[in-house]
């Protein structure tokens, strides 16, 4: 079985995000970018499937700016076999919307014929949580979202999903789209020898036009604003005082 793992280049989760002066979005110039952490979990899961003899090949794919090549190299250094970069924007501030990404991924799936698509449940930049589901709809494939456990068994996969209030286990027919949640696994380090080997692994470059997909935005960002600053705290001397203060501000 071939596993396709879409990965997104996003602002590193440790970076203190700053909103651009004109409010059009977040400042990404000179900012550290990394693989979306949920996508790292998807790459790790694909590698584990391969190590368990349930997958033969792992193909990582990214849709975005040319610099996403670095994100794909990370996937290759972790253990993906080859990568496909679909260049769909020139400006690092351009975010390709989930529907356009899903349409491109559907074309990649058509060309690659994977038995499984493993992706992060959402990207940490815009928190859309939509691409996997849209891809499932476009392909007419089964979907298992928010996976915290996954086992693939022939033409079925068993997915434990993290839902409000507990866990739900479902069985889906393969081929399927599985979107992964935080607790599925802990991604491995890319060892230095594997970083060096990743340089030699194939990375094909395509464009959105190659797949005939129009990536023009359908949504308009009206405004981006930083969250309100947290008010300063105070030290209280006792539990009684704490309770009183909470009552004073109407919190209890």
């Amino acid at each position: 079985m071939k596993v396709l793992v879409p990965v997104k280049r996003v602002i590193d989760y440790n970076v203190k995000v700053r909103v651009k002066a004109d409010g059009s979005g977040v400042d990404l110039a000179n900012v550290k970018m990394s693989m979306n952490p949920f996508d790292e979990i998807a790459v790790e899961e694909a590698i584990r499937l391969k190590e368990a003899g349930k997958a033969e090949e792992i193909v990582a794919v990214s849709v975005g700016v040319k610099q996403a090549q670095e994100t794909l190299r990370t996937a290759l250094a972790m253990g993906a076999d080859r990568a496909i970069l679909v260049v769909a924007a020139d400006d690092v501030h351009t975010d390709i919307e989930p529907l356009a990404v899903a349409k491109i991924l559907a074309k990649v799936v058509e060309a690659e014929q994977p038995g499984l698509v493993l992706c992060g449940k959402q990207a940490i930049d815009n928190d859309m949580n939509a691409t996997g589901q849209m891809l499932s709809a476009l392909l007419g494939w089964s979907q298992g979202t928010f996976a915290s456990e996954l086992s693939v068994d022939g033409d079925h996969a068993t997915v434990t999903r993290e839902v409000d209030g507990g866990l739900q286990t479902i069985k889906v027919k393969m081929p399927a789209i599985i979107t992964v949640d935080l607790r599925l696994n802990e991604p491995r380090y890319a060892s230095l020898p594997n970083i060096m080997k990743a340089k030699k692994k194939p990375l094909d470059e395509k464009t959105a036009a190659d797949y005939g997909v129009d990536v023009a935005p359908r949504l308009e960002i009206v405004k981006t604003a930083e969250p309100a600053a947290r008010a300063a705290g105070i030290m209280v001397g006792s539990v009684d005082e704490l309770v009183q203060k909470l009552k004073d501000v109407g919190a209890i």
């Binding site: 590193d12 440790n14 970076v15 203190k16 000179n30 550290k32 990394s34 090549q69 670095e70 190299r73 990370t74 250094a77 380090y189 890319a190 060892s191 230095l192 020898p193 594997n194 970083i195 060096m196 990743a198 340089k199 300063a232």
Partner: protein
């Protein structure tokens, strides 16, 4: 504390580091954040970094940065070493950092640079995996930067050498498996021709660790005094040419000093980051201390000096990697970085107020750890003489 700061605009720049090197930095940083920082207080208390951690580093290939692929390494150059040293320095636990850096860049390098094929094949793969940890024993109670002044003697006896003497301040002295030891083989020869390096294995009869030393800083690194009392070393264990030790030691000083400079920059970056975070939070007279211009401008100037020294190191590493001779620059870097890190720590402790004087604060440990940076691996005064000679 955030693992990303404005200092990273240079670390992320393709002008200095290509894609693989940036990825290496990311991996080392993540390793430091998850495998070192949450656990290292215990190692500070125990006085040593555990072998289990060193094995994990070995598994990830970080000990093999400079060695050829045929021996299990990754064949990278000084730029990768700078990243390795800087990120370890950034851990805030420089005792852990120096344990690893002595192994990679001050000890095992002697085996690789001076050793023959058999010695390399026997030791380098094990040093890369972390199975064998190395130490270098040059310094003595009576000789530090003055390498020609060592008193340890090695006398030929058939196909062996008999070593007698003592070695001082030896990092990894207790926990190492293999030691690169400098001794005088021909006291009558010119001083520069009198020193020979030997490979000495732990357990060699007559070789003992006389005591573990109690240090001001670097508490998670073990440092020892070693004793050689008629220790019999096979002649096959000579590293390089008999009488060629002085030049071997001098040659590696360039790498060692660049590494210490980079380590200092990691320490500076971490100290400035955590001090700025503390000052943004800490209120006095109704406002965060960060609002005081006197404080923030002093830190701004320190960050400018750190950034310039860092980029000097990056540029020098790139030139060294291209094969250029950079003795003058490396000597400058060691002098500059070793002093600067102490100035940074002094001000960062100062701006932490009373908390900076408390054992529970990170900055207190970092200030103690930084003190040796202007002493070890070439004291500032010795480095400045090297610079002055080239003026």
């Amino acid at each position: 504390m955030s693992t990303h700061s404005p200092f990273d605009s240079a670390t992320q720049s393709p002008v200095f580091f290509d894609e693989s090197l940036r990825m290496l930095r990311d991996q080392i940083r993540r390793f430091v954040e998850t495998e070192i920082k949450p656990h290292a207080d215990a190692w500070e208390a125990e006085g040593a970094t555990p072998r289990a951690l060193l094995r994990k580093i070995g598994d990830l290939g970080f000990f093999g940065i400079r060695y050829p692929e045929a021996l299990g390494g990754s064949d990278l150059d000084q730029r990768a070493t700078v990243i390795w040293a800087e990120e370890l320095g950034r851990s805030t636990y420089s005792g852990v950092a120096i344990t690893a850096l002595v192994h990679t860049d001050m000890a095992s390098v002697h085996i690789y640079n001076a050793g023959n094929d058999a010695q390399r094949a026997e030791w380098i793969p094990r040093c890369i995996s972390g199975e064998a940890i190395s130490a270098v024993a040059v310094t003595e109670p009576g000789a530090g930067s003055d390498v020609k002044g060592i008193a340890t003697r090695a006398r030929r006896d058939g196909d062996h050498y008999i070593l007698n003497g003592a070695k001082m301040f030896i990092t990894n002295g207790v926990l190492a498996d293999v030691y690169c030891v400098a001794a005088k083989t021909d006291p009558e020869a010119r001083p520069s021709q009198s020193v020979t390096m030997f490979l000495v294995e732990k357990g060699t009869p007559g070789f003992t660790v006389s005591r573990a030393l109690d240090k001001h800083g670097w508490r998670s690194s073990d440092t020892a005094e070693l004793r050689f009392d008629n220790a019999r070393i096979p002649a096959a264990n000579i590293l390089g040419r008999e009488g060629g030790g002085f030049y071997e030691i001098m040659k590696n000083f360039q790498n060692e000093r660049l590494v210490l400079g980079a380590m200092c920059m990691g320490e500076c970056q971490a100290a400035l980051e955590l001090t700025v975070a503390y000052l943004r939070d800490r209120k006095a007279f109704g406002a965060p201390l960060w609002d005081k211009q006197a404080i923030r401008q002093r830190l701004a100037m320190l960050s400018a000096r750190v950034e310039s020294c860092r980029q000097f190191i990056y540029a020098t590493a790139a030139r060294a990697a291209a094969g250029e001779e950079v003795v003058r620059e490396v000597s400058m870097i060691k002098a500059l970085a070793g002093e600067l890190v102490n100035e940074v720590m002094y001000d960062c402790v100062q701006f932490h107020g009373g908390m900076g004087f408390m054992r529970e604060s990170t900055i207190e440990r970092m200030a103690r750890d930084a003190r040796v940076q202007s002493i070890g691996g070439g004291a500032t005064e010795v480095m400045l003489e090297e610079v002055a000679k080239r003026m």
